[in-house]
């Protein structure tokens, strides 16, 4: 009987350690965002970020969708990189404007710098994801189906 209890405790301790190690692994391998660990085992079931983030970070996702980047299908990974860090762009929840924004908006950034003296962070004046179109050009007629999200 006592040996049974001891054995159960041993197994329990080992299990606890295993779970700890597993979560430590997830934390290291998938910085901040753990979607890769969650559901991407079968290639055909890979999802784009939006399908999960529409639930987990609904506000940011909706903002993006209504923004110019959303309308143009400039997807999450273009600025943030792959959450597993295995992509071509280093993953970052807060992409560095000097490298990431500049890849497309370098001319505008230079114009801004000349006009206003520049800012280290584009997002101070252009809040991230919140760059909706000033007219309603993009808001009516959105197809309810998804083409590429």
């Amino acid at each position: 009987m006592r040996s049974n209890v001891k054995r159960t405790l041993q197994v329990f301790a080992v299990l606890l350690l295993g779970v700890g190690v597993f979560f430590l692994y997830l934390d290291k391998a998938f910085p901040r965002v753990r979607c890769e660990g969650a559901h991407l085992s079968v290639p055909e079931k890979y999802a784009d970020c939006v399908s999960c983030h529409a639930k987990s970070t609904a506000r940011a996702t909706q903002d993006w969708k209504e923004s110019k980047h959303g309308a143009m299908l400039v997807k999450c990974v273009v600025c943030h990189g792959e959450p597993d860090g295995k992509g071509s762009i280093p993953f970052s929840a807060n992409p560095d404007p000097a490298t990431i924004c500049a890849r497309c908006h370098d001319p505008a950034m230079q114009r801004m710098a000349a006009k206003f003296g520049g800012s280290a962070d584009c997002n101070t004046c252009h809040p991230r994801h919140q760059n909706p179109l000033h007219s309603d050009a993009y808001q009516h007629k959105a197809p309810s189906g998804k083409t590429s999200f």
Partner: protein, 754 residues
Amino acid sequence: MTVSRREFLIGSAAALALGMVGSAPRAAAAGKKESVDRWVKGVCRYCGTGCGVLVGVRGDRAVAVKGDPNNHNAGLLCLKGAMLIPVIYAGDRITEPMIRRGGKGSPLTKVSWDEALDFAADAFRKALDAGGPDAVAYYGSGQAPTEESYLANKIWKAGFRTNNVDGNPRLCMASAVAGYLTTFGKDEPMGTYNDMDTATCFFIIGSNTSEAHPVLFRRIAQRKENSPDVKIIVADPRRTNTSRIADLHMSFIAGTDLALLNGMAHVIIREELDNPRFYGRYVNFVTNDGKPCAFEDYKAFLAEYTPEKVQEITGVPAADVIRAAKFFAESSSTLSLWCMGINQRTRGVWANNLIHNLHLLTGQIGRPGASPLSLTGQPNACGGVRDTGSLAHLLPAGRMVANEKHRAEMEEFWGVPKGTIQPKIGHHTVALFEAMAKGTVRAVFIHCTNPAHTLPDLNALTKGLETAFVAQTECFMDAETLKYADVVFPAAFWCETDGVCGCTERRYALTEQAIKPMGNCRPTVQILMDFAERAGVDPKLFPYRTAADIWEEWRTLSKGSPYDFYGMTRARLKRESGIKWPCPAEDHPGTNLRYVRGEDPLVPANHPDRLFFYGRPDGRANIFLRPHQPPFEPADKEYPFVLTTGRVIDHWHTATMTGKVPELQKAYPSAFVEINPDDAKKLGVSNGDRVVLETRRDKMTFPARITDTCMPGLVFCPFFDKNKLVNRLFHHAVDNTSKEPEYKICATKVYKQA
């Protein structure tokens, strides 16, 4: 049980170790800014938008890409262009020549350059001895730089003396070429991207601009944002992301667009929105079989295309047909944009003519913002293949093989004896692969394209690749065509060599060499010359050292032709981010409005009319009386759905490049089939279910994606996935004139996999 737990723990510990090893350098990379030694100018490797890029080089490595602020894209890139670097350093780059010693099916083995070149040259010499000049062929690409296509065209037509020179633009742009030629007498559009900034109406038909030409879509959207009164009409059986900015979306039954276009012309005339002053001066009316006729005949011909009849044929509400026609004709400047939905059709040339008709009928042409602008799919189909005449029926700068005078001009310029260029038109693409299967074409040189993935009716047409000797230049090991190659030449990739590309808007731009070719790769012009010399072509035909020498010759040849770009010296192309031809002199800024007096240098300054369609003998363009005709294989009782193909934004062509970028590959790892929710309900299919598409050629299984992007009765599969070669399902019927296959429509059964 205990054992499995232990295994789990061991596995977790191992994973932890791996995770930490893997994440350490990533963490370092995340904090580091991209520092570059120099930025080298070029154009994006992918689509026909032709965005300017700057490649950032550190040491001897390319490390970053950003948009060129001085090119038409004003510094912007789409997600593909922004992530080009990993493609250069893909793990499966081919860096050594390889041959298949034991014939088809045996393994490819690495050999020296000499051995590979001799191996290919021997096979070509044997083919020439056995079957004469027409036993060899070249199959090129709208992705190869201009210098490579020009050189190959010259080697095959004047060296091997065969006109069996064709390429993938036949599968892509041929109908647009024939459309421009038949209507205006000369190929290539008269407008440019600048028209997008001034147009007040956009008519987008058969194009998912948002995913296939994203940076152009952004420019159109910007126009709409700045001036919300600008009208955007999108006509496409699929309601794609492009329709997101549309004022009017018309989902027509696939293959009925000819009726729709004639219906719009009918309304324009009925509502007196036509422009008699314009067409009275600049237009001839021509019957479908090429006979001259009058406006009244055209009006009578259109009588049957009432909006109600058009609704019956196309499924588009009559009111929308009227609205579209009014938007088109009432706007101060209308810009039409179209792409593969119009071109890849058995009546693709007619569909092109019908778009031009609308512009000529309303005078929406030859003014800023008013133009029919055909979008092209590849970075250099226009400049490299169309302009250099690297197709079976063409010679450089708008000349035709069948024209004796044109042949004589080229023979004189190339310094070859009279009669060298054969008068017989070579095999167009589909005929070429059929001839290879029959054994009449015994050896083919395939450059910079992947036909075993992109040809239609693959089960039938890849027989040609199984039969003929195939020499191929290729950069990536996962290209489907490699399975058939007898010799593989590792070509330098994109910014590892220099070359000019000409995009949709007649803009030629130079990609400069940024880095050294990887491993043992060589520039293709070098490969072509070494190969041709060993295969017995007189080396006097190609006295070049570099691609720049070839450009010099081609630039000189263009002088005085309707494609005149003599003013684009290599030095100027290095300084400037693309120039639009005609550009006859070094101090000429390039041309925005072709055929327009005061804009186009080829229109005499004292020409009596403002417009001069100098490609036509009488200077007038043609309005053709082209009737509606159904596609080759419409849906029927047995095969009740229409299958169509296309692109997704994340991948380009056969994904041998975009598949190497983790972000792009993960966004779309494999092909799927889009099904309308109503159809899905009837078929009992839900999202992710495996669905069989069965056509008269073959059947394949795809995971279902239920979305109202497709209208009922239509299913869509992207074609990028090498593991799901959807082109196996298509027939290979071609357009009578352009010989372009109909990738956009075939009949299919759709059912859930048992």
